[in-house]
Amino acid sequence: MIWHDEQRGDGIVALPVGRVDESTAQDFTIGLETGVDRAAGTGSKKLVVDMAGLDYMSSRGLRSLTLAKRKADGLGVSILLAAPNGVMREILAISRYDKIFAVSDSVDAAL
């Protein structure tokens, strides 16, 4: 899993690429926490995770999202998930994570 994030407009867009599983969840967690910190300094206080580059995510990655959300809530930051591929969309539905995170079809729609 490769993590990259950037400021776009008034928010932060994260662009993880690859698979998030037991072996890469730690890097994903660190990336998310860094992204939340950066988003806290923006006007919109939004961290949009562009999921288009993610092949799939196990429960470790999903729970990393929850840990990041807890930190984000404390800083007034919103985490939004954008552009999941078909597999990721299924995983979000099966885990019911689409009930606890906002999921958008595109990054632009989330920003």
Partner: protein
């Protein structure tokens, strides 16, 4: 090794109501499409071949009770937990004892919450002076829990009136025990008042793991390597899958239960062969559980990296040959 599920529901026993049975009948009749069947065998062939499980059957509503049959030389009964499913197990045990089965029961307690002990006052063999019941637990207060639920304020028959020879033995994590015809290991789990998982290995090397009422805390994900190690190469893992992952980390966090998603991930890491979804949420209908099963199979397919994990959904009456 044969694993027989006598009770699979979590927290509280439930039963199908008339309207649920009526819906099943209506769906079956629609599926039959006006066909007629010459006899019950023909009707059953239609049921087996064309109806889904939620229409043709039910996952049941008795609380936790599982039997493991090894076919070993000693032949003692091996039972996990004393939930309401124990009542029917006791009736069947009498049938088998009448046929010569030894009257020895080794019981392994996950923990002592009500849904896991409520069947014991209705366990016929406990009233049989010829039966011996050994209750193994990681808890020091197992005897207190069983005696307390039979005090007069809760039940009319006191524990001391039971006629079987009843013993309590404490097991310790990290030790390995030969009990009856199985090797037994025990693992502490996160749950109110602690729960314990059991790993049973029979003489043929077949392994069944019983891990219910176990929450895998989000702050301790690194510790899950120990759980995967306990599940390692198991032929069958029976796992608490009561909630969705989202519920288990939000509204129902600290309620002491796990999800289908985490169970599948742990079994993948452990290279287990089969997973039985277990300790079903009492508010779930048969349709809900069938959907949970289908979604779990799909998640396993999506996240599989090596050999496939067969995902079963336990129901009262299910028998699995391991």
């Amino acid at each position: 090794m044969l694993v027989r599920f006598w009770g699979t529901r979590g927290s509280l026993a439930v039963a199908q109501k008339a309207d649920a049975v009526r819906r099943k009948l209506a769906r079956a009749l629609v599926a039959a499409g006006g066909r007629s069947f010459d006899d019950e065998a023909a009707a059953e062939a239609f049921i087996d071949g064309e109806l889904d499980f939620a229409t043709a059957g039910t996952y049941g509503g008795a609380t936790t009770c599982i039997e493991i049959e090894t076919g070993g030389a000693q032949g003692a009964f091996i039972v996990c937990d004393l939930g309401s499913g124990l009542r029917e197990f006791g009736i069947d045990a009498f049938r088998r004892m009448a046929g010569g089965h030894p009257r020895i029961f080794h019981v392994f307690m996950s923990h002592l919450h009500w849904d896991h002990i409520m069947g014991f006052p209705f366990f016929g063999p406990a009233f049989d002076p010829g039966s011996q019941i050994v209750i193994h637990s990681g808890h020091a207060d197992a005897e207190q829990a069983l005696r307390r639920q039979q005090e007069e304020i809760s039940f009319p028959v006191p524990f001391d009136w039971l006629r079987a020879k009843i013993e309590f033995r404490m097991l310790v994590p990290g030790e390995s025990y030969q009990i009856g015809d199985v090797d037994v290991e025990i693992m502490a789990q996160h749950h109110s008042h602690v729960s314990y998982g059991y790993r049973f290995t029979d003489a043929d090397g077949k392994v069944a793991v019983f891990s219910t009422d176990s929450e895998h805390k989000i702050e301790k994900m690194d510790g899950e390597a120990n759980v995967a190690s306990f599940f390692r190469d198991a032929d069958l893992v029976i796992c608490d899958t009561m909630y969705s992952l989202a519920d288990s980390v939000s509204m129902k966090e600290d309620w002491g239960h796990s999800s289908n998603i985490v169970a599948i991930d742990l079994c993948h890491v452990a290279k287990a062969k089969r997973l039985a979804l277990f300790h079903h949420e009492p508010t779930y209908s048969d349709e809900d559980l069938q959907r949970l099963h289908a979604e779990s199979i799909r998640y396993e397919e999506l996240t599989r990296e090596e050999s496939p994990l067969e995902v079963l959904c336990a129901y009262d009456g299910l028998e699995i040959t391991v």
